[in-house]
C-alpha cells in the first residue's frame, strides 16, 4: 500500500546531525529574520546583555571558588591531624621527662646505703625502672633495601601485608625471647626498655613495643655476659633462621658484641592488681 519509506530513522538521525553541525541556537537566526536587517535597537538590549554577561561571569567564578575551596579543606584536615600528632608526641616527651625528673627525686629521697637500698635497687633494675649500662650485644633487624612487593599480577589491592613488610612483631619477639634465653639481663628494642610486663605486638603493619610504634631497623640491645650471649645467640635456631632470610629475602640482620651499652629506663610498669603476698 504505502511505498513511502518510514521517515523516522532519518528524523532521529537528523537530531544527531543537528547536534554536531548546528551549534548556534536557532533562536538567533529566527530573531534576525523576524526583525529584519536594520532593526532599531530596543530599550532592553543593553541591560539584557549586561545581565547575561554578569550572570555568566558570576557563575563561572562561583564554580571556581567552590571547586578550590574543597582542596584547602583536605589540606587543613591533614595539617590539623599532623599538628595533633606532633602535640601528642610532645606531650609524651614531656611526660617522659617528668617521669625521669620524679625518678631522680625519688632516688634522692630513698636511702643510699644499707640492705634495704640494695634490695630496692636490684628490684628496680630487674623491673626495668632505672637506666642500666654494661657489656652486652646488639642485634639489628632491617627490612630489605627495596621492598620486594613488586606489582603482582592480578586484582589490585590483593597484596598481603606479608608481601610488603617481611619483618613483623613475631620476628622482633623471637629475637627478644632468644636473648632472654641466652642469658640477657636487660633488653631494649629501639631504645624502649623491656620490662616484665612489656608486650611486643603489631597494629596493621606497625610493630608496637609497650604500645609505642617502632619502625625498622629494629635494634635490639641486651645486657649480659657478651661472650655467653653472642655464642648462645649465634648457635640458636633464631639466628640461623634470620641468616637464611638474609640470604633469601635480603633482609638486614647482624649482631655484635658491645663492651659498653646503656639501656634507658622504662616508665610503663604499672602493677595494679598484684600485691606482695605476706608470708
Amino acid at each position: 500500500m504505502s511505498t513511502q519509506p518510514p521517515p523516522k530513522p532519518v528524523e532521529s538521525a537528523q537530531l544527531l546531525v543537528d547536534l554536531v553541525n548546528n551549534h548556534l541556537d536557532p533562536g538567533y537566526a529566527a530573531a534576525a529574520e523576524r526583525r529584519g536587517p536594520d532593526a532599531a535597537p530596543r530599550w532592553y538590549d543593553r541591560p539584557a546583555v549586561i545581565v547575561g554577561c554578569l550572570l555568566s561571569g558570576f557563575i563561572l567564578v562561583v564554580a571556581y571558588i567552590h571547586t578550590h575551596r574543597g582542596a584547602p579543606e583536605a589540606t587543613r584536615v591533614h595539617d590539623s591531624l599532623v599538628t595533633r600528632v606532633r602535640a601528642a608526641q610532645q606531650a609524651g616527651d614531656e611526660l617522659a621527662n617528668r617521669v625521669a625528673d620524679l625518678e631522680r627525686q625519688l632516688s634522692a629521697a630513698l636511702p643510699k646505703s644499707g640492705p634495704l637500698a640494695k634490695n630496692l635497687d636490684l628490684a628496680r633494675l630487674q623491673a626495668g625502672l632505672v637506666a642500666v649500662s654494661g657489656p652486652g650485644m646488639s642485634v639489628t633487624l632491617d627490612e630489605p633495601p627495596q621492598p620486594t612487593a613488586s606489582p603482582t599480577p592480578g586484582r589490585g589491592g590483593t597484596t598481603g601485608i606479608g608481601a610488603t613488610n617481611i619483618l613483623t612483631d613475631r620476628d622482633v619477639r623471637s629475637v627478644v625471647n632468644e636473648l632472654w634465653r641466652d642469658g640477657a639481663e636487660a633488653i631494649s628494642v629501639n631504645d624502649i626498655r623491656l620490662t616484665p610486663t612489656s608486650a611486643i605486638r603489631f597494629a596493621g603493619e606497625a610493630v608496637l613495643v609497650d604500645f609505642q610504634p617502632i619502625t625498622p631497623p629494629y635494634e635490639i640491645r641486651a645486657l649480659g655476659n657478651p661472650d655467653v650471649l653472642s655464642t648462645n645467640f649465634a648457635q640458636s635456631a633464631v639466628a640461623s633462621r634470620y641468616q637464611t632470610l638474609k640470604g633469601a629475602e635480603n633482609i638486614g640482620f647482624s649482631f655484635t658484641d658491645e663492651q659498653q651499652l646503656t639501656l634507658p629506663a622504662s616508665a610503663s610498669v604499672k602493677v595494679r592488681y598484684a600485691k606482695v603476698a605476706h608470708k
Partner: protein
C-alpha cells in the same frame, strides 16, 4: 560588545568579592550551570560575529538552558539516573561550545 566584556569582568569581580557559599542542595547543578553559561557566552559571541546577535535571545536562551538542564538533572536525581543525565547535558552543551568556538575561530582568524 565592550559593555558585554565589562559586564563579564564585573560579574567575575563580584564573585571574587562576595565569595558566596553554594548551598548543598544547589551543588549538583553547579557544573550544569557552568556549562550552560559557557554555552550562552560562546553562542552569543558567535551570533554577534555572524551579525545576528539578539539580546533577548541571548538572555532567554541562557536562563532557559540553565533551568532546563537543572530540571533534567533534578528529575534524574529523583529517578536515580542523575549523574548519567548530568553527563548527557554536559556532553550536549560541550559539543555546542566546541562548535561555536570553532566558528568564532573561523571568524576571527579566517582559518
Amino acid at each position: 560588545m565592550i559593555v558585554a566584556g565589562i559586564a563579564l569582568l564585573v560579574g567575575i569581580a563580584l564573585g571574587l568579592v562576595l565569595r558566596p557559599t553554594v548551598p548543598g542542595w544547589l551543588e549538583p547543578y553547579l557544573p550544569i550551570a557552568v556549562v550552560a553559561a559557557l554555552d550562552a557566552v560562546f553562542g552569543g559571541l558567535r551570533a554577534w560575529l555572524d551579525g545576528i546577535f539578539d539580546a533577548k535571545v541571548f538572555v532567554v536562551s541562557f536562563v532557559s538552558n540553565v533551568t532546563v538542564a537543572a530540571l533534567i538533572v533534578f528529575l534524574g536525581d529523583k529517578l536515580g539516573v542523575g549523574s548519567q543525565l548530568s553527563t548527557a547535558v554536559v556532553v550536549v552543551l560541550g559539543i555546542r561550545i566546541f562548535g561555536n568556538a570553532a566558528a568564532i575561530r573561523r571568524h576571527v582568524f579566517r582559518a
